[in-house]
């Protein structure tokens, strides 16, 4: 899965569904829900990359939380592209090597939680995303988005909260900027 799916949350979730006794269909559905946010990421990465179709089709496979976070955190588009590719290549390599190592070592490894690694992911994302939120409106949208996401966690399947807030926030700000444009003209 690390080679073919390459979306961490989807992989963990699919395995989780199966180990809890769920069907393959349920595992796939859960995995796909969690993968859906990559579409939103893809839009930003697509705008960042050069137009040649082959690199773009390869890049698409590598669009995930981490590569997107690194790419958008750069000020210059050229740095953003470099950040994307460097992160993508190193993460694809290490993620797959890690998967192999984990599969081979099995029970012998320490619980990631005892090392605080479950905090490492959200820490990384927030560290990369926060500096992007420079204006008060973006802060407000982020707080709104986070709140709505938490509210949705208990009532929707995994993957929906984050995706839903992306759609809501995107919709709200696009309609605001559209009306703002009309006023300016």
């Amino acid at each position: 899965m690390s080679l073919i799916v390459f979306t961490g949350a989807s992989q963990f979730a699919a395995v989780g569904v199966l180990t809890a006794g769920g069907s393959a269909a349920a595992a796939i559905a859960t995995g796909l829900l969690l993968a859906s946010r990559n579409l939103v990421y893809g839009i930003s990465i697509g705008k960042l990359l050069n137009s040649a179709w082959l690199p773009r089709t390869v890049a698409a496979h590598l669009v995930v939380d981490e590569t997107t976070a690194m790419a958008i955190s750069q000020r210059e588009p050229s740095h953003g592209r470099a950040a994307f590719w460097i992160t993508a290549v190193s993460e694809f390599t290490l993620w797959n090597l890690g998967t192999l190592a984990g599969a081979l070592s099995g029970e012998a490894l320490a619980d990631p939680k005892s090392l605080g690694l479950d905090a490492a992911f959200p820490a990384t994302f927030i560290a990369l995303a926060l500096p992007q939120l420079r204006a008060i409106t973006s802060w407000t949208l982020a707080i709104l988005s986070g709140t709505v996401a938490l509210l949705l966690v208990t009532v929707t399947p995994p993957g929906i909260p984050v995706l839903a807030t992306a759609l809501i926030v995107g919709g709200v700000s696009m309609s605001r900027s559209l009306s703002f444009d009309r006023i300016n003209r």
Binding site: S44, D118, A127, V169
Partner: protein, 100 residues
């Protein structure tokens, strides 16, 4: 997990990613929508961090991850480099887990 299931999931994930990447070119949108789209991943990542910190599956949770995230926010605000932020957060969470 069967190979066909993995391939289906992989294909579906790729369709999401590729739709985003290939759907829009660099200059196809007016400025204000473009600005919003630029902001969207950052906001999405903040939501993701929040959900990953304050929930466990379908339940809300408050545990050692929360102080870890707080440490990350603190370290970012004083402009610490990314590796230190990550290590600080992980270490903080691990230590709090040991203490409580």
């Amino acid at each position: 997990m069967s190979w066909s299931a993995i391939l289906i999931l992989g294909a579906g994930a790729y369709v999401f990613k590729a739709t985003g990447v290939l759907a829009l070119s660099k200059r196809s949108l007016p400025g204000s929508i473009d600005e919003t789209l630029t902001l969207l991943p950052a906001i999405l990542l903040v939501s993701l961090s929040v959900v990953q910190t304050f929930s466990d599956g379908s339940q809300l949770a408050l545990d050692a991850r929360a102080p870890g995230l707080a440490i990350a926010v603190l370290l970012v605000s004083i402009r610490m480099p990314l590796p230190l932020v990550i290590i600080g957060a992980a270490l903080g969470t691990a230590v709090i887990r040991i203490l409580f």
